[in-house]
């Protein structure tokens, strides 16, 4: 186990290093010149050159990358070109909002996904099953900005149940979490359905039924605990999917998380922020996957970590 963890940790560091090189190189190759972004349209060539030298952007690629990396080790993600603040401060200020959104999304995807999956499994083959699976297909394939705007319009503008965007109370959290969670709900309903069907075929379920337990007791006490575990184990992997989703969802709902930060930075070519958010997201994905792998053997003893 320890050896496994150590190996995975080394792998993770290598992955992050790779991500940093690729992102840095891509941003370096952008035809946009960050110095001119900072200097503005009225700057003299002298000012432009002076800023270039001060930021070390006159140095060759490898020198720049090495400097970024050595600063990174000390936790220094550099300063934003546009916002003129420490990138680490900007990300730290927004991370809690993104984490909260993800917790909300996990809640909704499990609530909706598991319920749909269980019902569909129990009613397998029926019209209910088909309707639910169609719904899950829509959830998986519909673009998040469409779902987001639709929910915003129906529940925010027309019905007025929830605020139109913003941050602060649980009411603000509902619509963005739901939007982000719907995609996952689609996946979970399908996984839950097949997992449940598998379990319901098992001998012990037949035994339970034979000894005269009620349907509800069989489902909730005997089938569900076994069926749900492999599904729950996937949550770690969701983090990766969320990282992509928050960029869209946070922008639609004005949610002050790192997705919105990234979106603004991309539009304004604020390279240090793009770098910083990419690395933080990569870290989250790597950690999420690691978590999923570590949890797996506890849930299914047939899986061994090697």
């Amino acid at each position: 186990m320890i050896a496994y963890l150590a190996r995975r940790l080394v792998q993770s560091v290598l992955i992050l290093l790779g991500v940093s090189i690729i992102t840095f190189a891509l941003l370096y190759l952008l035809p946009a010149d960050p110095v001119r972004q900072i200097a503005g349209r009225s700057a003299t060539p002298q000012t432009v050159e002076n800023i270039r030298v001060q930021l070390g952007l006159d140095q060759p690629f490898l020198v720049q990358y090495w400097r970024y990396l050595t600063n990174l080790v000390t936790g220094d993600l550099g300063r934003s070109y546009i916002q003129r603040s420490e990138v680490s401060t900007l990300i730290a200020a927004r991370l809690p909002a993104s984490l909260l959104l993800m917790v909300g999304a996990i809640f909704f995807e499990l609530l909706i996904g598991l319920t749909m999956g269980i019902v569909a499994a129990v009613k397998r083959g029926s019209a209910v099953d088909q309707t639910l699976m169609l719904g899950s297909f829509v959830g998986v394939s519909a673009p998040q900005f469409v779902i987001g705007l639709l929910l915003l319009y129906i529940f925010g503008v027309q019905l007025g149940w929830f605020p139109i965007g913003g941050y602060g109370t649980w009411r603000h959290l509902v619509l963005p979490s739901l939007t982000l969670g719907i995609l996952g709900a689609g996946w979970y309903s399908r996984m839950m359905r097949s997992s449940m069907i598998d379990v319901l075929r098992q001998d012990y379920i037949r035994t339970a039924r034979a000894k005269g337990l009620t349907r509800a007791a069989i489902l909730l006490r005997h089938a569900l605990p076994n069926a749900i575990l492999p599904v729950i184990a996937m949550i770690g992997i969701d983090i990766g999917i969320f990282m992509g989703g928050i960029v869209v969802v946070e922008s639609v709902f004005g949610w002050p998380g790192i997705g919105q930060l990234a979106w603004q930075a991309i539009q304004r070519v604020d390279i240090p922020i793009i770098m910083g958010v990419t690395l933080v997201s990569a870290c989250a994905i790597v950690l999420g996957n690691l978590l999923a792998d570590i949890v797996a053997p506890f849930i299914d003893p047939r899986i061994k970590l090697r």
Partner: protein, 546 residues
């Protein structure tokens, strides 16, 4: 020394004043009631509130409410007036300015402002370590070069005469200098606070302005509260302004309709514009005004076939500007010259190139391209610019020019324009020139003068006419305010001469449309203030306070 007295030259465009009654009482709105709070929304985070650095339309006005400079404009106008200066004198040769400061002005930290602060603030902007995008505006001050190249940090042209008097000497006459002193870059900052916060001063601004910043929660909101010690007694009217960020314009509009927002800072989203204007109730709360903006197509005069003036003139005749204006729901007026109509120096009698496809074709044939040619049109990729580019593309196709559209992120278009052989044609939308100050010279240097035709410059036509450069320098050395009209006339001639060479197709001048909640009041001019965008925070008020 020559002294200008209020009464004699108030009418002149430069409006030099010797002394000013305590904070001109006539500008006050008799209906204004103090108190109340408003909410303004923006899509993007506020970048920085450091006056030496902030240079986007969002933070420009916010900084103006936190800080003050020696000069400012009458609210809602482009008329200069002293602000932190109580009075000033200009020497006979127009190269020495002596400012008497208003006594008893206090920074938000309680300390009184002195002439040393003025000197420090100017030196800080010019100092290369500050990385100010506005440093170049101060190039006419004596000693600028030495500070700009890092050999000293002290501007030899700025002298503290006594705690309330500061003298600024210029190395050359500069007719725009008072405008330069009204720029945010010349706003006065307290040294001790700048040193305390270092690079984070922009997140912890301390000035002398009408409001002080009391809270900045990153990614959520910035809060301004009334400065009770503000020198301009009675101002501001509002107790508090909350700037909420991260709000899409469409969401902001919905919230405005629900009464949750007072001004959507990013304006009315284009997709909703017609809907809003069709509703009399909403339309009544929209204020329309001109702005010092021109949208144009550049043609790279160093790249064939645009090195031929006839080709450029033909393109000028080929563009149907009325249709482009319609395309953006008439949110602009067609242009025929680089200067916008509200800018002094605008040639009212100049007619420009009329839309005439046949004449354009003939001219193109004359230039040796009877069958047209293929070229590239660069454009920023946000709506409505790609749609405008398509309209331009169709207009060009009508005279045989096949223009391929390169729709890119803003920074990439700017980068292409700054390369000598980077972009044959650029539609300036989203990057079009908005004047820093209301003076015709501001539309020349960086975008049409030889100085801007350098790698990384903003003169995307790479148009360089040495003769006009000379004439421009000559016009800007006319510092006598009584000759201002003569100077504007010279500038008008310069722009007409440029149009004869046709490096640009001036397409339109954007109009501004600011929407406000029903409870917001104050003169309409405050909502389309040419200097304060979107609104002049210091003078607006709300009606629902007792």
């Amino acid at each position: 020394m020559r002294q200008f007295l209020t009464s004699t030259v108030a009418a002149s465009a430069l409006a030099l004043m010797m002394s000013l009654a305590p904070a001109a009482a006539e500008e006050r709105d008799p209906n204004a009631k103090p108190g109340g709070e408003i909410i303004i929304t923006y899509k993007d985070d506020v970048a920085t509130l450091d006056p030496a650095i902030g240079y986007d339309w969002q933070n420009w006005s916010m900084i103006k409410s936190l800080f003050d400079g020696l000069m400012d404009y009458e609210p809602g106008t482009t008329t200069l007036r002293p602000e932190l200066a109580e009075s000033y004198e200009i020497s006979e040769d127009g190269q020495t300015f002596t400012f008497k400061l208003r006594p008893g002005v206090k920074f938000h930290n309680g300390r009184e402002l002195t002439a040393d602060d003025v000197k420090y603030s100017l030196e800080r902007v010019v100092n290369p370590e500050t990385q100010s995008p506005g440093a170049g505006f101060f190039a006419s001050i004596k000693g600028f070069d030495e500070v700009a190249n890092g050999s000293t940090t002290s501007l030899s042209g700025v002298t503290v005469v006594d705690p309330l008097t500061v003298k600024i000497e210029l190395a050359r006459p500069d007719a725009t200098f008072l405008h330069v002193l009204a720029l945010n870059f010349a706003h006065v900052v307290p040294k001790e606070e700048v040193e305390k916060y270092g690079a984070d001063f922009g997140k912890n601004p301390v000035g002398t302005g009408a409001y002080k910043m009391t809270d900045w929660t990153l990614g959520q909101h910035v809060v301004f509260e009334k400065n009770p010690d503000y020198w301009n007694k009675g101002l501001p009217y509002l107790d508090k302004i909350t700037f909420e960020v991260g709000q899409e314009p469409i969401v902001a509009l919905l919230r405005l309709q629900k009464g949750e927002v007072d001004v959507p800072g990013d304006g009315i989203p284009p997709a909703k514009f017609q809907e809003v204007m069709a509703d009399p109730d909403q339309k009544a709360r929209v204020v329309e005004g001109g702005q010092l903006h021109t949208g144009y197509i550049t043609m790279n005069t160093t790249m064939a076939p645009f090195d031929n003036v006839k080709v450029r003139q033909a393109v000028n005749m080929a563009i149907n500007k009325d249709r482009i204006v319609q395309l953006i729901n008439n949110r602009a007026v067609p242009a025929n010259q680089p200067l916008p109509p509200s800018m002094p120096g605008y040639s009212k009698d100049y007619k420009g190139y009329a839309y005439d496809v046949e004449k354009a074709k003939a001219l193109l044939a004359e230039a040796g391209h009877p069958d047209g040619f293929e070229t590239e049109l660069y454009v920023m990729n946000t709506d409505p610019n790609p749609r405008i580019a398509q309209a331009i593309q169709q207009d060009l196709a009508a005279i045989g020019i096949k223009a391929n559209i390169q729709s890119l992120a803003q920074a990439n278009v700017i980068a292409a324009g700054g390369e000598k052989d980077g972009a044959p044609m650029i539609w300036s939308g989203g990057m079009g020139w908005i004047a820093d100050f209301p003076d015709p010279s501001n539309f020349y240097g960086p975008i049409l003068g030889c100085g801007g035709a350098v790698p990384g410059g903003w003169n995307w036509s790479w148009y360089c006419n040495e003769e006009l450069d000379k004439k421009a320098a000559e016009a800007d050395s006319i510092t006598d305010p009584t000759k201002a009209e003569e100077r504007y006339k010279m500038w008008g001639e310069i722009y007409e001469a440029i149009m004869a060479d046709a490096p640009w197709v001036p397409v339109f001048n954007e109009q501004r449309f600011t929407m406000r909640s029903p409870r917001m009041a104050g003169a309409d001019a405050l909502y389309v203030d040419p200097v304060h965008i979107p609104i002049n925070y210091d003078y607006v008020y709300v009606t629902d306070v007792q």
